[in-house]
Symmetry: D2
Subunit: 354 residues, 4 copies
């Protein structure tokens, strides 16, 4: 209840700081009988891990998941799936210079005030390293949802964005570039931009778009646990996220009802899909799509003035190895969180009718 | 667990369809010792209720809350607060023409598929009438959070928007106009626009912005239950919402870290507030502000083609009394949901330290 | 989270004090498509209500349940079922003499210390009147579990007990006597005993046994949510309960493994059933049976010395209309709580396999 | 939600099978600022571990807890405490003979039916090995509850029992004998009895009594989450438990109200304590005491007839190293579960008043 669990019937609970011995988690509620492809899990982990290309942080962490329970002879048993991911590259010394410093737009100040103490090494619990556990959990969820396909991709970096509807994109190209943008000319511009930013010691924000196809009708609950409300919470819980919109999103707020309504075809599908595949909080079988805004990484390699825990003004500069832009590595995290939400509602759908 | 409860330690559970005898709810976890001003509750209810002005639906519903428990001699007792709101104006006949029809961009189709049956009168459980219970619950939460002020207002209607930062607005003027926009010249344009839209039998979307001041430091949990993640879920669970952003929001995704970081003053406050009062998921004492996008109401007074539950193509036209634009009445709902989120975290803050 | 909800997927939340306008509750998670027989609900309520015979309290309360939502044209819709039960017979004056008095072995002292105030009228929230909501909730649960039969009965009153195994009893006779003991000679002795006790201004304890037949295999979860653990919690949450045992119970603690093991028949049934129908926390298809101990009612019609909230020693004597023995009216409450537990696990069983 | 978590605000989630690489858990909700004595944790683990004396199973497992997060420089940080306990002594071969066999009064049959598969090695998830994680979690809880003392002890083995009230016992002697009975003459008889039973290849049941002193007033919630209801669930969730009673327990059911009521002293304490320290579900500051019944271990070293998963009748005999009587090792588990319940309510008490 201290906010380290996600999901009501398919529940991921995570633990771990970036500089402890290991991080890990427990997936509770995964049904028995699901064949688990461990290589597929590792493939997801590799998409998130540091050091994968020259536009992300150069930390080297293998990020291999060790499953400790709940899978027997390659199949889930219905019991909780415990796992750990070792922290092999904790250079705690990188952080000794900030032991008492509150870094701007980080969680140092708020943690210290809330808990009365903090693990200052690498952001402690607020480190994005925690999202490795989400990717592991999401990878298991994906293997339960075999019919559903979840495709996230980078839709903008700074001012550079894909100027096409998602229907015109070929998602098989997302992994072809380091930036995970399936529109290759745009991808090239994004990569160039990130390299410039990195060189200047700065960072830049971006957006990730996610498209989910082949969703069964009926996922989501009518009132508080609307499908898009839980998707929104899932995305907003990822480090650095500032906004979420689905379907017509903020543009929809400018439209008229006569333009916005999705008229039905005879088979129950709709002619347009401004609803984003969700009506009244429940999936209608059309594509679900949403967009997530990420702010620029707060750690920059430039001098900034800040304060320490004694209230003194001090000057600091980021050290260590950090991402100049977080969105390429955020793509698998967005997919993982979407998979966790869908898995939860996929199970809950079994409870809706006699 | 079917999604009719909100909050972990300050929990509102609601029930009720628009056309049953009553709707209602239970607030569980409200501490003992809070003096309750019932008139203040009624005042909130009036801000949400139909028929309050000529730019909202003309249904007449008193929407008076009857508290049945948990308050003794004007003070909360620590036991659950049960309440009901009678449905006095259920013109079920208004809906007989849609018994088998799936209205476009409504929840008729998804409910029918999910549950195998539906209460077709007035949208049943998916009716925005359910939000009356949220306003009642939020009004109690507000009375617990006496130091915090929550001010929501209409920031745009269709293409018309307030072109000033919120710091330049006088929130005491929000209630002066029917549209709940504190910038009076903009309010006048919005009202004019809504009247035109209504005349044409159409509807229009808009946005609500919410500013929360005087927030204690430490609200929110580090990982999944980040303060803004729960605020986002709360807002996205309101009928017709398509997007949520806080602080720099989607604009932040275009910025550089050197522009976006909020540098500290010596007292721990920050010189800028692009973080929106939340860092690492935890309130930092600065103003929290966010923006919520509402799509245009789906029920329009124009002819639309649609299908019925037998798969026949039929033509329909909205009847009854509906809102041409939902944002003026959404303002108190946004505030209520924000109050519920804050109340939950305000209690949970008591658990963070020994 | 303040303990007024029961069940994870079939959830009953209750509210209400004995002397407010009404008590009530919300059943969330009841699937769509269950035909509800309202007369069957009322029949359960009558089994619990005061004034039903000359060996129970003579208060007159109709205890009629008014359902406000979630049932449409006689069938559940999958949305929350809200209900209220009006308090028609609140003689608050009966309690004015105890406004400041802490009655021995009641909750007056603990409530006052915990909450800093209390609703002293009729026990407030700690009144057994709250159990009327449990009976209403359980009556709905029973209608979902059409194949399962739940039979509770009074197995002892003070020193008088049924000296036969439950297999020798005819449960169709349980309702034939006011004391709800299906063994009629024992019932006669129990009734005589209760009348003597009542005449002396005293009260007496007793036990209720419950037998559940036709249980599907697989209800219950392996570790913390063992079927018998949740049944135990359910029973222990009923007012005045002091103990719970199932299967061999406390006698089993005296036995040897070679005596206690239930050997299998070829069809998976067992030759004996000391396990009480539950192995490893999961139902095995055999009869579930358990026994619940109720202490004597604390309100006696004799003078007792006690203290008031100022620490003064005072003398008091019970007034009003109270039960001399609680077990006859506890029988439907035990059944209702058992039904709620089974309903929850019956739904959760749907989640255990792919 | 698959029943592997315990507690609402101080939550222990466990994972692990007896024959995987490790078992472990996550404690979520432990406040920041608690100094953790790791040796005290290990001391609790040693009280539960196999091989500690000649009257328990002779398996050798170090059962050392490795904490992976949530504790920094010896103090809790408020973030989740993850831990693992390696399985070093998994002789899977010991179990190959029962791969398809349903052992009598074990969970083999019910697991197989519920999940459609099972990890047959050493009972898989239903193994009592899981309780090692409870002891680890309880050891942390105990260090939060520094003022409260929890003393469990063996009160009976088979027909041999302590014939004194707990007030006459010296709990400092509990650990002096292998059987954990503080009454030394009775302990000697119990040990003799267990050795006889072991020699005959049989097993025997017993009871554990627990006394909790120095409990703050106000722990527990009024309705479903009564303190004794959660204690009962906690105990009933321990492997092999068949019954729970607190205060007067089953004896109380035979008493009269005039005998059973606990009259107050002027300071709010009571002259007697048949209530067992809990009134209306809430602690009143007096000693809490309860008794837990354990059945005899199902694995006996005698030949038994049983069936396999194909429905064939087969003969089997226990192999490996099992406990002849479970209660000596159950003592620290009972204390751990009590500590977890108290920790949860101790935190929740902070939420009851403004």
């Amino acid at each position: 209840m201290a906010g380290n669990s996600f999901g009501k019937n398919f529940t991921l609970t995570t633990f771990g700081e970036s500089h402890g011995e290991a991080i890990g988690g427990i997936i509770d509620g995964c049904p028995a009988g699901i064949t688990i492809d461990l290589e597929a899990v590792e493939a997801e982990m590799k998409r998130r891990k540091p050091g994968q290309s020259d536009i992300v942080t150069q930390r080297k962490e293998p990020d291999s998941v060790k499953f400790l329970s709940g899978i027997f002879e390659g199949v889930t048993t219905g019991t909780p799936i415990g796992f750990i991911i070792e922290n092999t590259n904790q250079k705690s010394k990188d952080y000794s210079h900030i032991e008492k410093i509150y870094r701007p737009s980080h969680a140092d100040f708020t943690y210290d005030k809330k808990y009365g103490n903090r693990d200052y090494r690498g952001g402690g619990r607020s480190s994005a390293r925690e999202t490795a556990c989400r990717v592991a959990g999401g990878a298991i969820a994906k293997q339960m949802l075999t019919d559903i396909t979840i495709n996230a991709f980078v839709s903008s970096v700074g001012e550079i964005f894909i100027d096409k509807p998602y229907q015109d994109l070929d998602f098989s190209k997302t992994e072809e570039t380091a930036v995970r943008c399936p529109d290759l000319p745009t991808a090239a511009k994004m990569i160039k931009r990130i390299k410039e930013i990195k060189k200047s010691g700065d960072t830049v924000g971006g957006t990730v778009t996610c498209v989910i196809k082949n969703v069964p009708i009926g996922l989501g609950e009518p009132v508080f646990d609307k499908l898009h409300a839980d998707l929104g919470k899932a995305m907003l819980s990822i480090n650095a996220v500032k906004g979420f919109e689905f379907g017509s999103g903020f543009c929809g707020a400018k439209m008229k009802g006569s333009e916005h309504n999705d008229l039905f075809n005879e088979d129950g599908s709709t002619q347009t899909n401004l609803s984003g595949g969700i009506q009244g909080g429940i999936s209608n079988g059309m594509d679900i799509y949403f967009r997530v805004a990420f702010k620029p990484v707060a750690t920059i390699m430039q001098k900034q003035q800040t304060i320490d825990s004694d209230g003194n003004t001090v000057e600091m500069q980021g050290k260590g190895r950090h991402d100049p832009c977080v969105v390429p590595r955020a793509v698998p995290i967005v997919e993982a969180m979407a998979a966790l939400v869908l898995a939860d509602f996929w199970l809950r759908l079994r409870l809706s009718k006699l």
